[in-house]
């Protein structure tokens, strides 16, 4: 069965001299929420569990802290991702497929932090938001999770239903 494109326009647009905004290709995403008193074994099972407002990579999986004893795990598109993760975390955490629950938008390029400042109320200065940081915040009234995938390359995850409206907001924000 075909997937219809999430957004009407092609993924990469608006690469003028300003920052570029793109919808990233489909990835696998899962929510992980630890059960009571399971943090130690869970960390052993996964290999890593980043602390508050931090991200960490292990075995090709990116883990983003997403709340008290909660994480978002992101990996390349794999239909069995959540099932395999659920097996590894069996009895230790609630694992929920979120591959379709989130859309991830990328923004990078000149003045990227100035563009983001128009939408986000948090400080993204490198001294305060280092390479391994992540934050749960709002972008123009849209709940988002933001992190850097590379130096000065930001990714924002939002609920899928907000993807188009967030893309529009970012696309306007990059114009100076």
């Amino acid at each position: 069965m075909a997937e219809w494109n999430l957004l009407a326009e092609p993924a990469f647009t608006l690469a003028r001299q300003n920052a570029a905004v793109a919808l990233l290709p489909q990835r696998s995403i899962a929510g992980i929420a630890a059960f009571k008193d399971c943090l130690g074994p869970l960390q052993d099972a996964l290999g890593v569990l980043p602390g508050p407002n931090r991200q960490a990579r292990h075995d090709d999986i990116l883990y983003l802290w997403a709340g008290p004893e909660s994480w978002l795990a992101i990996a390349e598109d794999d239909p069995d991702f959540d099932l395999n993760l659920a097996k590894r975390c069996s009895g230790l955490a609630a694992v929920t497929d979120q591959s379709d629950g989130r859309a991830i938008l990328q923004i990078k390029g000149p003045h990227v932090r100035d563009a983001l400042a128009k939408l986000l109320p948090i400080d993204l200065h490198p001294s305060v938001f280092p390479q391994d940081a992540t934050a749960l915040t709002l972008a123009a009234h849209i709940p988002v999770q933001i992190w850097q995938s590379a130096v000065d390359v930001f990714e924002l995850a939002c609920f899928r239903s907000y993807a188009e409206t967030l893309y529009e907001a970012l696309s306007e924000a990059v114009l100076f």
Binding site: M1, A2, E3, W4, L6, A8, Q26, G31, A33, A34, F35, K36, S70, P79, A93, A94, T96, D97, Q98, S99, D100, G101, R102, D114, A117, K118, L120, P121, I122, D123, H125, V128, A140, H141, I142, F159, R160, S161, Y162, A163, E164, T165, L166, E168, A169, E172, L175, F176
Partner: protein
Amino acid sequence: MLQKTDSTASLLGGEQKFRLAGGGAIDRGEIRQFRFDGKTYYGYAGDTLASALLANGVRLVGRSYKYHRPRGILTAGSEEPNALVELRGGDRREPNTKATVAELYDGLEAASQHRFPSLKFDLMAVNSLLSPIFAAGFYYKTFMWPASFWEKVYEPLIRRAAGLGRASGLPDPDFYEKSTAFCDVLVIGGGEAGIAAALQAAGGGKRVILCDEDFLLGGRAVGESIGLAEKIAELQKFSNVRILLRTTVFGVYDGGTYGAVERVADHVLRPPPHQPRQRYWKIVTKTSVLASGATERPLVFGNNDRPGVMLSGAVRRYIRRFGVAPGSRAVVFVNHDEAAGTLAALREAGIEIAALVDPRAEIPAPLRQLAEACGAAVYAGGVVRRALGGLAVSGVEIVPAVGRLVKLECDLLVMSGGWNPALQLTSHLDGKPVWDEKIAAFVPGGLPPGMQVTGAAAGDFANPAGQPLWQVKGAIGKAFVDFQNDVTATDVKLAKQEGFSSVEHLKRYTTLGMATDQGKLANVNGLGLMAELTGKTVAQTGTTRFRPPYTPVALGALAGAHRGQHFKPRRLTPTHRWAKSQNAAFIEAGLWLRAQYFPRPGETDWLQTVCREVATVRSNVGICDVTTLGKIDIQGRDAARFLECVYTNTWENLAVGRARYGLMLREDGFVMDDGTTTRLGPAHFVMTTTTANAAKVFQHLEFCHQWLWPELDVNFCSVTDQWAQIAVAGPKSRHTLRIIVDPEFDISNEALPYMGAAEITVCGGIRARLFRLSFSGELAYEVAVPARYGNALADQLMQAGERYGICAYGTEALGVMRIEKGHPAGNELNGQTTAHDLGMAKLLSRKKDFIGRAMAARPALTDPARPSLIGLRPVNRADRLRAGSHLLPPGAAAVASNDQGYVTSAAYSPSLSHWIGLGLLANGPARHGEIIRVYDPVRNGDLLAEVVSPVFYDPEGTKLRG
């Protein structure tokens, strides 16, 4: 002798008679053409509208608010009360712009306000003759009788006469932006003190933001101080300093947050592409330095509002910064030693100085010598009691210390009563300014956390005015305290006489300080005068509070991008693209856009479409997107236990693969939400909520878990967006689904009975969930697939159902069918209804505790006399029922005391061919068969209806279980 202007302007046909030949921080190479009241003038880049008008000898620029007195340019800054003009035209027209702040650009169009037919000849000046009636507080004493006249006569007249300036009334063509900035030090004010503070902080490696409302840095030092340019250049070298010009910090808020507005494109004809007109900055800082300088105080004497009467610092600025002579022959009336600097500037500009009038009995020798060297007569201990002239100052009357009245000719009267630190920002978080006797000014008292004050804003004056003069005694003519609201010294006396002598009463009784300039020139004079009148000290009299904004802020700037369609974000369902391709009409449901109905060619109105959709579902099959209803994944050892706590009914005994209706109460016993929750595994449930309450219920679950039952091992995850969920309803729904559900899954009535659920695959292996639920009352299912497949699934279902005459249906048809089945929805779950009201008392378990159990049992909440759920059928089948109508006994007076309830939901039922309604009626369930009056005065509805069961269609529920 006045220095003549340069020749370029005269070549273009414009002669700036009062422009000095040299000097000023203006660019004489860049000529700017502008129009004021229809006449063309010329100025230079770097001018404000005010400086350019003065350069062209235009002194009369407006008419005052109440008395329509001729007014001119009083200041050179944002404290200006008089020179308010209408700037631009068409959809960019804006009223009440201060000419002293408006940067001059080529093509600028400005007009004076508040005068008819012209500035020079204003008919409304007749108000001046009636001034004894229009004294302070006249609103409270007039327009009272007869009472009936207020609404139809007085108010419309006052409305037409009152107000200042006209808004364009057209949509704003510009866009606005908001941005958040963070720093270690926010320096407010870019004069010498601010620049010094910024340099110091920057040198220490701090992140610095420096804001100034002006378009140049330097404040009062522009045109005056020699080292200024070097310091500014030094500041610009730091990469950790952000300089925001044309930016007013207008407010201090909690948590080190400051509001500021940057006038990005006010100084050009129209904003360049992609530029906002203005930008609202939210600045979050660890510390701040207030270097906002000080505002000069006028003196209060007769006709001190005539065009040509100007503040001393402003006169200096026009000469030194703008290269403009504000007049040709001046009298200087100042009570402090800053007069020396002004005399020097006047002399440099070649302006004759007729006299120096200083109320102090003793003036310092250097000042006297300077005045005499300028050829001025010196009147120590003297005062100006009145300015002479009508449309402009023509002379003064001086009362010397000894001797007779002196009359002198002049066209410029320079006045100053001292300086007031611009400390408004220090009191935004309730800090109280403190009176400093030595400098006769209020200085900052309590400060917002993290703020320091420096320079003149802290009362650091080179030449303070030690002896304040609150009013000139024996003044003749109106002596203004508040220029913009036309409040005079007499009004202050009147307030005291009437008993309004506290500063808060003085303000509100006289409206002193309540104009758009927020009393910057008026407040201290007003309370100083009141102190004198009441025999108290100024410290005892106190001062009113200041609140944001420091200067007016356009609402557009605060709205930023959130206007029109962008007011709030938009959430699209996973079938949105497909629904658009099917020509759906959409409706907003909270942030969501949902398909409302799907008109087909030839259908002329929505009712026709909706009736077709309902009929098709009930006879064949239809599909509807129900993704927006909240879906919450619940996992954990204690998941079932937790559900027992939040729902009123039983959950531990729910089998895997079964769904159950759940009712959720608030702690106060009222119904909060409902939904169906399915058990997918021993420790795994998925809960649904209504669309509107999805976030609220999630928050409620988190609250209950974190605070009330933290010992339970359970986790929640929102999966509303993860799964596209489509209802497939109608007698042919199973047939349709059979085609898309993969063959290995048995979905017969036996394998998947009513309220059953299964995890399956569809369309050749796509992971899916199938729930046999019915909101419509027909045989029905909801099928869920990962959201990326939403559009494709809708398409596949329509193809599969084509042979069964399938149609798509939207929220309207969904609503009609649930009303036909008497299912309570948002209209009935309105926060004021209980389980008993909705006929769901059976769902309140008696065997366990749950949220809301105790409060729901209160006698008042179980009283059958409460409005309770019923159905309504119009007696005359052709009548239309409307939600919101009230229910009264027939024949009773239509008054609130006879009100027995109201209609909550109404729809035209194609199944029954007439309108039906659901409502809440006192003792409702016991009154089936009664005839009730349905009364709707708002829409002129008045009809009779029969009270019936709310289940209009298939009351036995046979269709559900087939």
